[in-house]
């Protein structure tokens, strides 16, 4: 309390009396909420300038008000990273075992000079697309039978290794190694494997050209294509997925994780209060029923015209989308708008 302080000026103010009657608590509240008429506001402020009692009450009431920015904090503050958990340990162990096993198999394969065609022939169950190398005249079942026949007749299966384990590990190895190869390496491997395919052709029957290009053309191309697509998509997503916040001035800002915050909607005079991102679409709402929508991470904005309610402008306080089509917008005075078509119409 200010009264308990030893400032003589304040003590003197506390002793003094006020001539004019004090405004109602409701009027003081309206002042702090901006709900007074202009001339009424001037009159109340003139009273407050001369009345330490009312200033004290208004100050305490304002100090206990919940900061509206607190509502935005879940949107503004980056979530703290989770404490390290050991849930990854079994998976890491499994991956390590798989890697060791694959390495051992490769080493054993090279050491024993295992026929390559055996490996190639067993790659078909990995569901690698063979369309580019397949002969149109042959059906998949016929190819499969033929391939299996060749495999069974080959000397590779006469080795003491278990065929299924071998084929699975080899396929897994191909998948594990494929993503880390670049496009250039895949081209090189394609050529080398094409040569290997030629060897297969020499070693196996002429009916195996189906499998010639299979390991080289399909496996790395398929895996690399997928991986590169995912990688590029991930990089684009990571680069294009901005962080959003609303600064203290009520202006929305965007950052791409480099610590630089760029103001968007700088032309908007109204104070923005809430930002919501759902499925790549950004919604920003604020005073005077202003609601903006962007589908390109804030490059372009559409001002959404919310239907008038209660004959006055509202201050949007919450934006919540359950799906990309259906969402709800609420104002701080309880007005609610809903959409079920992605924001085209509101009710």
């Amino acid at each position: 309390m200010k009264l308990s302080e030893s400032n003589p000026l304040r003590q003197e103010l506390a002793r003094s009396q006020q001539v004019e009657s004090h405004p109602d608590s409701d009027v003081l509240t309206a002042l702090s909420e901006g709900g007074l008429l202009q001339r009424e506001r001037q009159r109340i402020l003139a009273h407050l300038a001369a009345c330490v009692d009312c200033r004290e009450i208004l100050s305490i009431a304002a100090a206990t008000a919940i900061d509206p920015a607190d509502d935005l904090k879940p949107f503004l503050v980056r979530r703290p990273s989770r404490p390290p958990r050991r849930a990854w340990l079994p998976w890491a162990s499994l991956a390590a075992c798989l890697l060791v096993a694959c390495s051992a198999v490769l080493f054993y394969q090279q050491k024993l000079a295992l026929p390559r065609n055996a490996v190639v022939a067993t790659r078909e169950p990995v569901r690698i697309p063979l369309s580019t190398a397949k002969s149109p005249a042959r059906s998949p079942s016929a190819e499969r039978k033929e391939t299996l026949g060749k495999t069974e007749n080959s000397a590779a299966l006469k080795s003491p290794q278990t065929p299924h384990l071998f084929q699975n590990l080899t396929a897994a190895n191909a998948i594990l190694q494929a993503p880390i190869e670049s496009a250039k390496q895949s081209e090189v491997s394609r050529q080398s494997s094409y040569q290997a395919g030629a060897e297969v052709g020499e070693m196996a029957t002429p009916a195996t050209p189906v499998l010639k290009a299979a390991p080289a053309q399909s496996v790395p191309a398929f895996v690399n294509a997928t991986t590169e697509r995912e990688r590029s998509a991930a990089s684009i997503t990571a680069a294009a997925r901005p962080h959003w916040r609303i600064n203290g001035m009520g202006q929305p800002e965007r950052s791409y994780g480099d610590g630089v915050w760029q103001t968007v909607l700088s032309h908007e005079p109204s104070k923005m209060r809430v930002v919501s991102v759902f499925d790549g679409e950004v919604w920003i709402g604020g005073d005077h029923s202003r609601l903006y929508h962007s589908i390109d991470n804030g490059m372009t904005w559409n001002l959404i015209a919310l239907p008038d309610k209660n004959g006055r402008k509202h201050s949007i306080a919450h934006i919540h989308f359950q799906t990309s089509q259906s969402g709800t917008v609420e104002s701080d005075d309880g007005a609610v708008w809903t959409t079920s078509d992605g924001g085209s119409t509101w009710q």
Binding site: S25, V27, A30, A61, G311, D333
Partner: protein, 302 residues
């Protein structure tokens, strides 16, 4: 569950029932938005309630201002308060759900002590429920709520008011031991007012401050005299603290400019004006501002 109140307390009496048709239409339009139907408040009763508020605060206002006031009224909170004071159980359920936790949380924040905060909130809660008057009729404090601000803000303000009253009443009951512990007995004498080097400066400062509007005076008093923070002042005026900061900087600069002009008009040459203003440190200027902005003369001794 709270028992139903015996007799609904009439709210603010209708002082100006003959409102303009536009205002009446605006009130009628806000009936559906207020949710008064849920509490059993008929449109006529709603019209009376809102008309009483408009008549009370905007008696001499123009029609446009009345319309603006009607549009700014928190009619939802207003009908809830009236329904609670009338003893509507459903209204009390809604009130408790919406405001009970907030009431106690605010009381804890104000009192900064759980026991005191609970006592404060309980006291207000009892008054909200209603205290019998001399005639034995229960009068609820919610009748004093007029919907100008939010009900939540009104509860905060009322709590703050009761807390200030409580502190002042308790301050009179401080024992001598507590005063000694607080060092009151050894407190230094009030510092004498800072003498101003030139009386013309004091006069110029006084005249300049007298020209200020209410908001400017409030800003100066709150910041320099009450030593409120910019954020607190900003919350009081529903603006951001940076706005308050800019206003204060602009205001003090303008004050200096006006004072300099007054000094020059008083026949002081510009160089001497600059010297006087340089001698008049910002802190001195603040002190002068504080002294000039005093609300009343000091209470004289008998």
């Amino acid at each position: 569950m709270l028992p139903r109140l015996p007799n609904p307390v009439p709210s603010i009496p209708v002082e100006d029932p003959a409102l303009e048709s536009a205002v009446s239409a605006a009130i009628a339009q806000s009936y559906s938005e207020s949710g008064a139907e849920r509490y059993g408040i008929a449109p006529q009763r709603f019209q009376q309630i809102v008309a009483a508020v408009v008549g009370r605060y905007a008696r001499d206002a123009s029609e446009a201002e009345r319309l603006q006031m009607v549009a700014a009224l928190r009619v939802g909170d207003l009908v809830l308060a009236r329904a609670c004071s009338a003893g509507n159980e459903h209204a009390w359920d809604v009130f408790l759900i919406r405001f009970r936790a907030l009431l106690y949380e605010t009381a804890y924040r104000i009192a900064r002590d759980e026991a005191t905060g609970r006592e404060l909130a309980d006291g207000l809660y009892a008054e909200l429920y209603g205290i019998p008057n001399r005639e034995g009729r229960r009068v609820s404090k919610l009748d004093y709520y007029t919907g100008r601000g939010s009900l939540e803000g009104w509860l905060r303000t009322v709590l703050a008011q009761q807390h200030v009253n409580r502190c002042r009443s308790h301050a009179k009951d401080v024992s001598l031991d507590e005063q000694v512990e607080a060092g009151v007995g050894f407190a230094a004498n009030p510092a004498p007012s800072v003498p101003v080097a030139d009386d013309r400066i004091a006069e110029a400062v006084a005249q300049t401050l007298a020209e200020l509007g209410g908001e400017d005076r409030f800003l100066l008093v709150s910041y320099y005299l009450d030593q409120r923070t910019l954020a607190n002042i900003g919350r009081q005026l529903c603006v951001h603290e940076s706005t308050i900061s800019r206003k204060l900087v602009k205001l003090t600069g303008e004050l200096r400019k006006r004072i300099r002009k007054r000094l020059q008009d008083a026949g002081i040459n510009p160089r001497r004006c600059e010297e006087l203003l340089q001698e008049l440190d910002v802190r001195d200027l603040n002190v002068n501002i504080a002294e000039t902005l005093r609300q009343e003369r000091p209470v004289g001794t008998f």
